[in-house]
C-alpha cells in the first residue's frame, strides 16, 4: 500500500512573520523550512511502514508551493519518504484553504493513496483544516488531531482528544488522518539520508498536469478574501507589584481578587 504525506514549506521559526502591505499576503522572504508539524506525520508514516502490521510499499511526500518548496520535500525524503511530488504553478499562488485543499486533492488523486497523513497545522497559516477539505474532495473518511494510531480490524484505530475527553475512532482505509504533535517524537535525519535525498525521484506537476480547474485556485479565485489588516485591540498594561514584603504582596493580591468578586 501507499502512504502520501502532505508537507508544506513555512518560514523558519526564527523568522518574524509579517504581511506584505503591498500584496496583502504573507511575506515569504527569509529563511524557509519544512513545517515542524509535518515531521510528526512523516514519522507516523515511517512507524506504520516499519511496524509491519501494514504492508507499506512506499511513502510519498506531496507538497504544493513555490520552487523553493523543493527543499521541504528533500527534508521529508531525508526523514524517510521514498519519493516526492511537487505541485508548483504560479496560478496556485495565493489560494485560500478551499483552493489549496482542492488542488492538493487533485494531486493526490493521481497517486491513489491508501492513506493520507498530514500535520495538525502549518506553522504559518494556523488553519488546522486542510485535512478535512482534502478528505471531502477525495471522499475518504477523515480525522484530525490524532495522537495514536494502531492497525486494527483491517483499518486504523485512532485516538484523539475531543470536546468531551478522549475519543477512539475506527477508520477504514483509504483515509485522511491529520496527526497531533503529541503522537510521536520525530527522528533526526542521518547524514547519509540527507546526502541521499537529492537522488530520490521528485515529480513536478503543473496545475494542468493535476487536472486543476483554473477558476478554483489562486488569489483571484479565493472564496475567502483577506482584506484589511489591523492591529489587535491593545490591552492596557496591568498593575505590577514587586514582591518585597510577601505578606503585603499577598494582601494586595487578595484585595485585587476581592474587588473583582473572584473570591465569592
Amino acid at each position: 500500500m501507499k502512504i502520501c504525506v502532505l508537507v508544506k514549506e513555512v518560514p523558519d521559526a526564527a523568522v518574524e512573520k509579517r504581511i506584505d502591505p503591498g500584496t496583502g499576503r504573507l511575506d515569504r522572504s527569509g529563511e524557509r523550512n519544512l513545517n515542524p508539524f509535518d515531521t510528526h506525520a512523516i514519522e507516523a508514516a515511517m512507524q506504520l511502514k516499519e511496524g509491519g502490521a501494514l504492508s507499506v510499499d512506499e511513502v510519498v511526500a506531496v507538497t504544493m508551493g513555490p520552487e523553493t518548496a523543493e527543499r521541504a520535500l528533500r527534508k521529508a525524503i531525508s526523514l524517510g519518504a521514498d519519493r516526492s511530488v511537487h505541485l508548483a504553478d504560479p496560478a496556485l499562488a495565493g489560494s485560500d484553504v478551499n483552493g489549496t485543499g482542492y488542488a492538493l486533492a487533485k494531486a493526490l488523486e493521481r497517486e491513489q493513496p491508501d492513506l493520507v497523513l498530514l500535520g495538525q497545522q502549518s506553522d504559518d497559516g494556523e488553519c488546522y483544516t486542510i485535512g478535512a477539505v482534502v478528505a471531502d474532495h477525495l471522499r475518504m473518511p477523515s480525522l484530525t488531531q490524532v495522537i495514536k494510531i494502531d492497525v486494527a480490524d483491517g483499518g486504523l484505530r485512532c485516538e484523539r482528544q475531543a470536546e468531551y475527553g478522549y475519543d477512539t475512532v475506527q477508520v477504514s482505509l483509504p483515509a485522511v488522518i491529520s496527526v497531533g504533535d503529541a503522537i510521536n517524537e520525530p527522528r533526526y535525519p542521518s547524514l547519509k539520508a540527507i546526502m541521499g535525498a537529492k537522488k530520490k525521484p521528485l515529480d513536478k506537476l503543473s496545475a494542468a498536469d493535476a487536472g486543476i480547474e483554473p477558476d478554483r485556485v489562486g488569489f483571484d479565485h479565493a472564496r475567502a478574501h483577506c482584506t484589511e489588516f489591523a492591529a489587535p485591540p491593545a490591552k492596557g498594561a496591568g498593575r505590577i507589584i514587586e514582591d518585597e514584603d510577601t505578606a503585603a504582596t499577598v494582601e494586595q493580591i487578595v484585595a485585587w481578587l476581592d474587588e473583582r468578586k473572584l473570591l465569592a
Binding site: 484553504v97 488553519c127 480525522l143 484530525t144 475531543a162 492591529a231 505590577i240 507589584i241 493580591i253
Partner: protein
C-alpha cells in the same frame, strides 16, 4: 434576506456552551441581515428529545433541523448541513469552534465550494454581508475576511461568541432525513469522551491556576493544586511542563493544547510565550507571578507580581482560604 445555519453540538443531554454562543451570535447577525437563524443537531434519536432541542430557541434559533446519525463525528454532519443549506438557501454556516466545528466547517466548505475562515473572534455586517475578523500571525494582527462565494463558512475561536438566553422562547423542530455519503460512515466511534488523568475539564472551569517551567520540578504543582483548591478552580499547565512529564496532557493550555477563557487565570512560573498566550488570552482576569520582571506574560496580565512563587503561592493559598472561610 440571508439565513444562517448554526451547528449545535450536544453530549450527554446538554448542548455545548460554545454552540449556544454560536446560536446567539447567529441570531444577532441574522437579525442584522434581515434573515433567520436556524440550528442543526445530529445524533442518536433518543439523545435529542424535543425538550432539549427546543431550548435552542431560547438562544435565538427560530428552527432546529434534527437529523439522526452517529454522534461525535464530523462527516455525517457535513452531509446533513449541506443538504439543509442547499434546500434552504442559507448564506452562512456558523460554528462555535472546537475540534468538530473545525472539521465540519472545513468539510462543508469543500462540499459547497464555500469560503471558510477559522479562529474567528468577531463577525460584523458590511453591505448586507458578513465579514469575519480573524487574528493571524500568532495574534499580532487581525485580518478582515470577506466571502466571495454564495455560501460563507465561519468557524469561531472557542469562547469568542457569548450565549444570551431569553427564557421562554422555543424553536420549531424539523426532522430531516439524511442520506449519508458512503465515506461519511467509514469512521465509527469506538469509545467517546473517555476521561484520563485529569478529572477536571479545564475548559469549563471559571478559575484556573496554571504552572510552567518556573515551578522548577513536578512537585511544584502540589502548591498550585492547593491554591486551585482554595480558589475553587482547576490546575492547568504549559506545554513545556507537560512535555517534561510534570503534569497531565489533558491540562495543557496553548496552541497545541486547549483554549480557555476563565474568569480568573493565575499563571505561576509561566513566561508567556506566544504559543501559550493564544490558549489563554481570552481570560477575563489574568494574574501572573514570575521572578523575571522581563517575562512577556507581564505585557498582557492585569496584575503582575514580580517575585518568587515558592514564597508567594503558599501564603496566598492561606490568605484565600481565610478570606473564603
Amino acid at each position: 434576506m440571508t439565513d444562517i445555519l448554526v451547528y449545535a453540538l450536544h453530549h450527554e443531554g446538554a448542548i455545548n456552551k460554545n454552540s449556544l454562543g454560536a446560536v446567539s451570535e447567529g441570531a444577532r447577525l441574522a437579525g442584522e441581515l434581515g434573515g433567520a437563524c436556524h440550528a442543526l443537531v445530529l445524533g442518536a434519536r433518543d439523545a435529542l428529545p424535543d425538550d432539549l432541542v427546543a431550548t435552542l430557541g431560547a438562544y435565538g434559533a427560530e428552527r432546529v433541523y434534527r437529523a439522526e446519525g452517529p454522534d461525535g463525528l464530523a462527516q455525517p454532519v457535513v452531509d446533513a448541513m449541506a443538504r439543509v443549506m442547499r434546500a434552504g438557501g442559507h448564506g452562512y454556516a456558523l460554528f462555535g469552534g472546537g475540534l468538530l466545528g473545525f472539521e465540519i466547517g472545513a468539510g462543508l466548505a469543500a462540499r459547497l465550494d464555500a469560503g471558510v475562515c477559522m479562529e474567528v473572534t468577531a463577525v460584523r455586517v458590511e453591505d448586507g454581508a458578513l465579514v469575519a475578523e480573524r487574528p493571524i500571525l500568532q495574534d499580532s494582527q487581525v485580518a478582515s475576511v470577506h466571502y466571495r462565494s454564495s455560501v460563507g463558512v465561519i468557524i469561531g475561536r472557542l469562547n469568542a461568541f457569548e450565549a444570551s438566553e431569553q427564557a421562554g422562547a422555543t424553536a420549531e423542530i424539523e426532522d430531516v432525513e439524511v442520506e449519508f455519503e458512503p465515506h461519511s460512515l467509514q469512521a465509527t466511534m469506538v469509545t467517546r469522551g473517555e476521561q484520563r488523568g485529569a478529572d477536571v475539564n479545564i475548559e469549563d472551569a471559571d478559575i484556573l491556576v496554571a504552572g510552567g517551567r518556573g515551578l522548577g520540578k513536578a512537585e511544584g504543582f502540589e502548591q498550585l493544586e492547593a491554591l486551585a483548591g482554595a480558589l475553587g478552580g482547576a490546575v492547568a499547565a504549559t506545554r513545556a511542563v507537560v512535555d517534561a512529564g510534570w503534569y497531565a496532557y489533558a491540562a495543557q493550555i496553548g496552541q497545541t493544547g486547549k483554549t480557555v477563557a476563565p474568569k480568573l487565570y493565575l499563571a505561576a512560573g509561566i513566561s508567556g510565550a506566544i504559543q501559550h498566550k493564544v490558549g489563554m488570552q481570552g481570560s477575563e482576569n489574568i494574574v501572573a507571578i514570575n521572578k523575571d520582571a522581563n517575562a512577556p506574560i507581564f505585557e498582557f496580565s492585569d496584575l503582575g507580581i514580580v517575585g518568587d512563587l515558592n514564597k508567594i503561592v503558599p501564603r496566598l493559598t492561606e490568605a484565600v482560604r481565610a478570606r473564603r472561610a
